[in-house]
């Protein structure tokens, strides 16, 4: 496949679409319609709807991929794996059949969802509390100046977030607010600005064909040649 097809055309598409979306977001480009919306508005609306359709499609694609991947395990009777793959496919089929024939808002589907996925999801999520506790216990130690500051700040915020403690010791609320609204906010702003600039830089590299990771396998020659 030539470099034009593998790299130049995809990068050109990325460049044009990105410029269109940015133009629509920031400026009103003439000619405008009766409502004052620029010509880019309609095009971007269509692109956004295509994006929504693609995302919905990728959900189905994921299901197909799961079937393909786990069917192979079942057919090969992969030790310690094939029973779980079979169970997974059975559950997928059950949810699909009930959802399609009875509707995702039916009581049957709701029961299936609440009894299985919702309960499991909440359980795994709740296990985070335990992991955080053990992480906290190990990390908040007075080992050096930095860890001491980390510990003091962590203890104040922990105490402030305990509702009853904040009632009995009102000073915690003031200290906690200072930590959140001044120290944390300023640090987060720095991280956000840095992250945003990094994303812009990556965007420019992508639009000019310098970042080719999303294109998959390219030879060194293909990576180095051609920009949009």
């Amino acid at each position: 496949m030539s470099t034009t097809l593998k790299k130049t055309i995809p990068v050109a598409i990325v460049f044009v679409v990105a410029m269109l979306v940015m133009m629509d977001y920031f400026i009103v480009t003439p000619p405008t319609d009766a409502a004052g919306k620029s010509w880019t508005s309609g095009a971007v609306k269509d692109l956004q709807n295509w994006g929504i359709i693609l995302t919905a499609f990728s959900l189905g694609f994921g299901a197909v991929n799961l079937f393909y991947f786990h069917s192979k395990h079942i057919s090969r009777r992969t030790p310690k794996q094939w029973m779980f793959s079979l169970w997974l496919l059975l559950v997928i089929v059950t949810f699909t059949v009930v959802g399609v024939f009875m509707g995702p808002n039916s009581t049957s589907y709701q029961w299936l969802y609440n009894a299985s996925y919702f309960a499991l999801s909440a359980t795994v999520y709740s296990s985070l509390g335990f992991y955080m506790t053990s992480g906290l216990y190990r990390a908040l130690r007075f080992k050096n100046i930095e860890s001491a500051i980390f510990m003091v700040v962590g203890v104040i915020v922990l105490a402030k977030n305990a509702p009853a403690l904040a009632v009995y010791y009102p000073a915690l609320a003031a200290w906690g607010s200072f930590i959140e609204n001044v120290l944390t906010t300023s640090a987060q702003r720095g991280i956000m600005i840095g992250g945003a600039l990094g994303a812009i830089s990556l965007g420019i590299r992508t639009m000019t064909g310098r970042e080719t990771g999303f294109l998959g396998k390219l030879t060194e020659e293909e990576k180095g040649g051609g920009t949009a």
Binding site: S58, L197, F214
Partner: protein
């Protein structure tokens, strides 16, 4: 401001072709050979994940940054003869990751050592199903090193604690501010926010990519100057700077 940043970045890309700027040390990325070497000594695999997120949502840049590091780590693993396991969340990423890893093994001269089904594992498109599957990989295969670069959500703590418990050395990087503290507490090496975007440039050493990173640093300097001017102007009762920025 955006146009200014663009000018800085494009200008830096051109300047970098003549004179390549230097990076400050990113100890996390410098530790990658050490991490893979450790896995080779212990005869245990390396686990890699680019977290959640797809190529069609707002965290796609982080995913792309993670894929750049995956390519580099795959090369190292191929060179040292270490098995690398890449856990996939989004099915659409699978073909890209497979090609990147295959190319890495070909470059190392060991294409026969790459086994797609064993090493590129699509686990689930659901967050906690994916998290449980990764924890299962950790418990069963006990990787010596765990590398997590990309967009991570609540499962970050689940991953880091589980891999810490089995004794893995860990490098994590994300631009999602919510999860940085959790990685900071548990992981051995950390890349914060923009460092993951610079990772591809840092590892490849490509002068033009490095130049874009310098361009974004110029953008930061401008932001800093505007902040200082804004503070001074607002303290003096002027709305010039806030008006200029449309705030």
């Amino acid at each position: 401001m955006l146009i200014l940043v663009w000018i800085f970045i494009l200008g830096s890309m051109e300047m970098a072709k003549k004179h390549k700027p230097e990076f400050r040390k990113l100890s996390g990325l410098d530790a990658l050979p050490e991490m893979v070497g450790r896995a080779a000594e212990m005869n245990r695999p390396v686990h890699f994940t680019t977290g959640l997120g797809s190529l069609t949502d707002s965290v796609a840049p982080q995913l792309v940054a993670g894929l750049a590091v995956l390519a580099h780590v795959s090369e190292l693993c191929a060179k040292y003869g270490v098995k690398i396991i890449y856990s996939v969340y989004q099915a659409q990423v699978m073909p890209i990751a497979t090609e990147l890893m295959k190319a890495a093994y070909v470059k190392a001269g060991k294409p026969e050592e790459f086994h797609e089904e064993e090493q590129v594992r699509y686990l689930s498109g659901e967050q906690f199903a994916y998290a449980s599957a990764v924890q299962g990989i950790a418990e069963r295969e006990r990787p010596a090193a765990n590398i997590m670069i990309g967009p991570f959500y609540a499962e970050s703590m689940l991953f880091s604690e589980t891999f810490q418990r089995i004794g893995s050395i860990q490098l994590a990087g994300t631009a999602r501010g919510y999860q940085i503290p959790f990685f900071a507490v548990v992981c051995d090496y950390l890349l914060i926010a923009e460092e993951i975007y610079a990772a591809g440039a840092y590892l490849s050493g490509d002068p033009v990519q490095v130049g874009t990173t310098r361009g974004q640093d110029f953008g930061k300097i401008v932001a800093l100057i505007l902040m200082i001017l804004g503070i001074l102007a607002t303290a003096a009762g002027s709305t010039a700077i806030t008006g200029l920025l449309g705030m």
